[in-house]
């Protein structure tokens, strides 16, 4: 029973990781790729780690197994905090260094802001 549950968790995590990878390959822009990878990778790795920690407990509730499972769940919580942090930092540094987002007509918010600033000074 626990084996089926952990296999289901790992398969769900693999599906989310695959969705993130396809988005990384197919989407047109850096920000879109960040949108795809940042969220689906986080949930995918948390589900995979939960499945591995659950399967590890099928070897018996000894002290070593419980400690290893606790360590794996610590890693899952760490990823749940760290992956959105890196996504935020990378997107912020890209926006502040002037990387323009992809739009259909080629006009971005950065261009509009510069235009408004120029009109305000005039």
């Amino acid at each position: 029973m626990i084996e089926i549950l952990s296999a289901t968790l790992i398969v769900l995590g693999l599906f989310l990781l695959l969705a993130g990878t396809v988005g990384l390959l197919r989407l047109p822009d850096f920000y879109c790729r960040m949108h795809s990878v940042g969220k689906s990778d986080t949930l995918g790795i948390v589900l995979c780690l939960s499945g591995v920690a659950l399967y590890n407990l099928t070897g018996g509730f000894t002290l070593t197994n419980i400690l290893v499972s606790l360590k794996i769940m610590t890693m899952a919580v760490f990823w749940l905090i760290a992956n959105p942090t890196t996504t935020h930092a990378l997107a912020r540094s890209a926006y502040q260094s002037g990387l323009k987002p992809w739009t259909k007509d080629g006009i971005t918010e950065i261009d509009l802001d510069e235009k408004r600033a120029k009109e305000a000074t005039n």
């Binding site: 990878t21 760490f78 540094s93």
Partner: protein
């Protein structure tokens, strides 16, 4: 159950190979950095599955934890660097 873990490890390896395309051909540098981070994400799960296959999970967990922390710190350092220097 070992066969299932081996199949999952093969699927994750194929996903890492697909991600390498973006790391090689990405238009900007920051694309390469995020694809390397995604490869690191997949490597952590791959290490844990290797530990389950070889039945030495207590050893592989420490390696995976160190890899996760180094991946996080490296990506944050690259973000800081590009914030100051500008994306090429």
């Amino acid at each position: 159950m070992e066969d299932f873990f081996l199949g999952a490890a093969i699927v994750i390896s194929l996903m890492a190979v697909m991600t390498i395309y973006r790391a090689v051909a990405g238009p900007t540098d920051i694309d390469r950095i995020i694809s390397v981070g995604a490869i690191g994400t997949k490597t952590v799960i791959l290490l844990l599955l290797m530990g389950l296959i070889y039945k030495r999970l207590d050893m592989f967990v420490d390696i995976a934890l160190c890899y996760a922390i180094i991946n996080f710190v490296g990506t944050l350092l690259f973000a800081k660097y590009f914030n100051r220097k500008g994306v090429l």
